[in-house]
Amino acid sequence: MRPGPLTDPAFPPTNAAPRQQYRLAHGKYWSIAREHAWMVVPPVAFLGVFLLLPLARVVFSSFAQPTWTLGNYAKVFDESFYLRSFWYTIEVAFCVTVVCLVIAYPLAYAIASSRGRSQKLMSVLVLLPLWTSVVIRSYAWLILFQRQGPVNSILLALGWIDEPLKILQTSTAVEIGMVHILLPFMILPLVSAMLKVDRTLLRAARVLGARPVKVFTRIYIRLTLPGITAGCALVFITSLGFFITPSLLGGAQQTMAAMMIEQAVSVFLNWPLASALSTVLLAMTVSLYLIYAKLTGGEMGMALK
């Protein structure tokens, strides 16, 4: 192709000074990309005013209220309740992520390797819970786990237990409820990674004599690694902010970070403390988010589609 303004941003060649050359390359010609660039202004302004500024305000008031002080943070790091709650949040997020991955991987494999109608049906079934309210799904588990509830009656009827188990207000209940809600977020990126796997590679490995287990561990898992990363990051980061499920299914021992922040506002009316707690949670989330963005090369979240 002949060099021209469309193919070569530095066309035409000039003897101009570097700065002028830059202007020529980037400013002289009309380009549809430059026109599109203006479109980011309204959304950026909106999120700037209603997301970034509020977040900055949270961080600011955690240091500046009631006066300039580190007292809010002293409270966060001194009182064992807050630290324990943060630690508990990380623990639950980790467990939930691992369990989700273990449950979702074979299921995603089944979806990715089925075809036609059954694949469509399974995708819809995965999406169906996603479209049911989180409040309602947690409420469903609340019913299921009651002392006289279906889970206990079935276990009793099967003779596996002698008296009703106390499931509610334990970490198990919280984790089961959260796994149920977050499972689709693990399945979707896994399926999309698995659909991209070039199956001839697997066949080649088999032909060359690899045992199925080896094909799986050496090739399949590695090829689906982007899906695993995306799914785990999404589930882990989302878990950190969970509020509804732990408040309904857990007890006082199962206070997660978001519940603690909500309590600081609605029960103790202590906004500065809530801001300090939020800042710690924000720092945790944002640093994980940045690591995730780095790992996926800026393509993050697009794997969701």
């Binding site: 980011v40 959304p43 089925s114 309210s133 409420y139 609340l142 199956r199 088999r206 989330t285 589609k305």
Partner: protein
Amino acid sequence: MSGRPIIASTQGFERDVTRWILRGYTVLAFTFLLLPIAIIVLMSFSNQRYMGFPPPGWTLHWYEAVREQPRWLTATINSFCIGIPTALLAIVFGTLAALGIARGDVRFRKFLLLLMMAPMMLPHVIIAIGLYPTLVDMRLQDSYIAVIIGHTVIGVPLVFITVTASLRSYPASLDLAARTLGAGTWQAFRRVTLPMIWVGIVSGGLLAFATSFDELMLALFLTSPGTETLPRLIWDQLSFALSPTLAAVATLILVLSVLLQGFAVYLGARRSALKRAQP
């Protein structure tokens, strides 16, 4: 393309066993996924106050109870009054952002991408804690506008994702061709870009609507008794008692969601059928 499971494809008997294990596992996993929904629906028709299993008899009493309480209707109307403007605003901002970032010559592209996706990743409680004083300063705290703004913030990434995906499904040179052939910005968008990405826009908007319809945390902070949404009312009622009335409400919401989702899937299917029809 995707034939039978390759990893499991050894010979004869062994292959059948692995396939059946996978199939059984799939059934189990889907049972786990769908069980809570099934329980809710069952309970809404059960004639017992507390869930025994299986329920001894069936009744429509709880649906009557929902109809008799005007608060449910008000909350539903509120949810629509908040969800629809939220979806529209999210569509405007999300689509603009997708066009600008995917097609535009923008600086700090990575940062912008992070910003657009951020509301999806950040805990809602932090957004709520920050937004509340901001909106109080603007004297918006008791109006619909407050919660619409809050929900639009979390709706933008959803539209951004779906529209970016549909922008990637066709070459940018089509837009350029329209512009070089004399179409203005608006005309090119209306006649070339929009027909290519409308499925992304609509499905993103539906997602934003569904998210707003389901969102609790921002609603707790940003709605007042006059503007309370369905999730907030359900939440308030939950702290009183576990009544099957809630299950009836939940079932009604489920039916609505399934209809909406069915519509989105139908749109997608029609779209891909159209694509297949054109060689």
